[in-house]
């Protein structure tokens, strides 16, 4: 199958007062049609920056190199005019905090229709009719009554549903969800995730789901890429990566998950140390200072990814979790 979204060797340098700093360093990522591609990693690992770079939403003084293809078409370096035709139309984005990403002073109807009118050339009445359909599709009560109201009149979960309806409006091929449930109550998160899953099955949209919640990944994602300090350290089908992680960082993340059975002080093993700040990344494998399995070579060489037969790739040459080996 041809991937809908294919990112190859993407590099992003962000401007800082001390010059440009590499925050995304050679990221590869593939999303198959109608799949949910999960991206996991700690804050600051470059997940969001990667997605913003693909849509050309980084500040103009950021340096973006490499390739990102949407259905075969290169997006990196595309002029603003052409990018605009992609944004919202072919690739839409859902942001973390729906309260912040909806304009507090504009009505839901206005924010739901303005890009439909721009992209699809719909008139006011048609756009509003479609907006009502969309709100119903994301299971909001009284869709028609919502149009003239403002975001603050709704709960966080309802606002995120509005944001999802906005993303769906122009029937994009890809929806990027940037931690779409992080700002929501746990009880509401499941509903939002089920909604995304249903939309993927019903409308055939591909979802790139950025989250640091591995529980979400195991429930929803088809593939999973684990980011660490601007690089993808492990990628594969979600089941494989989560059940048989080969990179110590992935294994560490999984061990740090609280399980319902274990008491917190027994079951949770946090990864020692703190994630590196962009611009001050350790040499070689960026994870080596925190890694319990490191060898001398780790501090020197940036590890090349190893690919296994089932498209499982990981970047850890010592491979402490190889089959038959006990760690």
């Amino acid at each position: 199958m041809t991937p809908v979204l294919e990112i190859r060797d993407l590099r992003v340098k962000m401007p800082t007062p001390r010059g440009h700093v590499t925050v995304v360093d050679g990221v590869d990522l593939t999303a198959e049609p109608e799949s949910i591609a999960g991206i996991a990693g700690e804050s600051g690992s470059g997940k969001t920056i990667t997605m913003l770079a693909v849509l050309g939403l980084l500040p103009p003084d950021a340096i973006v190199e490499g390739s990102a293809r949407l259905a075969g078409r290169e997006l990196i370096g595309l002029p603003e005019r052409e990018l605009r035709a992609v944004r919202g139309r072919r690739m839409a984005m859902i942001f973390q905090d729906p309260l912040a990403s909806l304009h507090p002073m504009l009505t839901i109807g206005r924010q739901l229709t303005d890009h439909m009118r721009a992209h699809l050339g719909l008139g006011r009445a048609k756009a509003r009719a479609r907006a009502v359909e969309l709100l119903a599709e994301v299971r909001l009560p009284d869709p028609a009554g919502m149009l003239d109201r403002h975001p603050h009149e709704f709960s966080g979960g309802m606002r995120q549903r509005v944001a999802i309806a906005m993303a769906l409006a122009c029937e994009p091929e890809v929806i990027i969800g940037d931690e779409p449930t992080t700002a929501l109550d746990v009880t509401v998160q499941a509903g939002i995730l089920r909604l995304l899953d249903r939309l993927r099955r019903e409308s055939g949209v591909t979802v790139v789901l950025v989250t640091h919640d591995l529980g979400v990944m195991s429930a929803l994602a088809d593939t999973l890429s684990v980011f660490y300090s601007g690089r993808v350290v492990e990628t594969g089908t979600a089941g494989t990566v989560l059940r048989r992680p080969r990179h110590p960082y992935t294994a560490g993340l999984l061990a740090a998950l609280p399980s319902p059975e274990a008491k917190v002080d027994q079951g949770v093993r946090p990864i020692p140390g703190t994630p590196p700040v962009p611009g001050d990344r350790p040499s070689g494998c960026a994870f080596h200072p925190r890694c319990p399995h490191g060898v001398d070579q780790c501090a020197v060489e940036v590890p090349a990814p190893v690919e296994l037969d089932d498209r499982h790739r990981f970047a850890c040459p010592p491979d402490p979790f190889a089959a038959g080996r006990t760690s």
Binding site: L55, L57, E80, R84, A85, V86, R87, G88, R89, A92, M93, F95, D97, A100, S101, L102, H103, P104, M105, L106, D114, H115, A118, H119, P141, D142, G145, M146, D148, R149, H150, H152, F154, S155, A163, M166, C170
Partner: protein, 366 residues
């Protein structure tokens, strides 16, 4: 259960189910209006008291300021003058009488014009209103776009230039600028008339609002309208200068603040044109601050008008206040101060109500 209770109930109930009532909340509450009205009364009393005290403790004598040379040396004339305006009564007695008359809507008689102060104020208020409205319109129409440009060209030459110019504009006293502008545009270049509201001997349009430009338009006198605009433009511009500067700086700050909001990035991610994002999302987000500063600018215009009207021989409240103060015309000074206080309070009230109109999250007074 009333409608209001229903909607309030929904507000606190997190799980809203079923049809949502279509409603448009009124942006202000009755309690708010009552509270503000009482506060205004207290404020006006305080202002009259302070002004009253100040007018009476200054070491100057209204009799000698208002009587002619001959009368000034005639003890009987001076005594008659003092008796007429109750200048020899105790301070508190005088103030008490003032309040008593005020309660009946009587501001006393101006020493200078020999007219009731109230009718003097009514005669002159429209002239100042015309000037102030024109000035604030100019300030918003020029200041907001300049602030936007300054923000979008942040740290580039255009921004530096605008910031320097706006700082200067805020610091320069308006009456001084007025004198310079008259020297240049009237005396040297002859582009504008030298003062007044109409050419000498020009007939004012029939009074509808008292604002010449508006009245001339309403009654279809285009010639008078052109004349009035011609006279209005320079003093209005001078009064607008600090406002333009203020709005440029604050709009710049507001736009820079809003432009980094998530909702602006989200709007860009929807594929909207940059101009649409700026107009609909950024500028809209900056409106509360723009409204605040416009209100401030309007209030400042009234203060600056005291000297600027004098410079431009504009017979409005400002020059009335100036002339009354110089002549120690106490009733007129009190009236003018009271009038300006009311204008201030009203501007603040309007600004507060406008918040509720532009920002649906705010219900004023709650």
């Amino acid at each position: 259960m009333t409608n209001a209770e229903k909607t309030d109930g929904r507000q606190t109930d997190g799980r809203r189910r079923g049809a949502l009532p279509r409603r448009r909340r009124s942006p202000i509450s009755v309690a708010f209006v009552v509270r503000r009205f009482l506060a205004t009364v207290v404020l006006c009393l305080a202002v009259t008291f302070v002004v009253f005290l100040l007018s009476n403790v200054i070491p100057a004598d209204p009799a000698s300021a208002n009587l002619g040379d001959a009368a000034r040396s005639d003890p009987e004339a001076v005594a008659a003058f003092r008796a007429k305006y109750h200048l020899d009564d105790g301070l508190l007695t005088q103030y008490g009488e003032f309040l008593q008359r005020l309660a009946h809507g009587d501001l006393g008689t101006s020493i200078q014009t020999q007219q009731p102060v109230l009718s003097d104020l009514a005669d002159r208020a429209p002239a100042t209103a015309e000037l102030a409205i024109a000035a604030v319109f100019m300030a918003v129409l020029v200041g907001v776009p300049l602030g936007m440009v300054s923000a979008l060209k942040r740290d580039r030459p255009a921004d530096h230039l605008l910031r320097t110019v706006s700082l200067t504009g805020m610091s320069v006293p308006a009456f001084w600028l007025g004198l310079l502008a008259l020297q240049l545009f009237y005396y040297r270049l002859g582009w504008v008339p030298g003062g007044g509201r109409l050419p000498v001997g020009g007939e004012p349009p029939p009074s509808v609002t008292g604002m010449y430009t508006l009245d001339a338009l309403l009654t279809g006198r285009l010639g008078t309208f052109t004349d009035a605009v011609h006279h209005l433009i320079l003093p209005a511009l001078i009064l607008a200068t600090p406002g333009i500067a203020l709005l440029t700086r604050f709009t710049r700050a507001a736009v820079l603040d809003v432009i980094s909001e998530d909702y602006v990035r989200a709007a860009t991610a929807k594929g909207l044109k940059r101009s649409t994002v700026l107009r609909r999302y950024v500028l809209r987000g900056a409106t509360p601050l723009v409204i605040t500063v416009s209100g401030l600018a309007l209030a400042n215009v009234f203060v600056a008008s005291v000297l600027v009207e004098q410079v431009f021989s504009w017979s409005g409240l400002g020059s009335y206040a100036y002339q009354s103060a110089v002549r120690l015309d106490f009733p007129a000074v009190m009236g003018a101060c009271l009038c300006i206080t009311l204008v201030y309070v009203t501007i603040n009230l309007v600004v507060d109500v406008l918040y509720g109109v532009v920002d649906p999250r705010i219900r004023v007074g709650s």
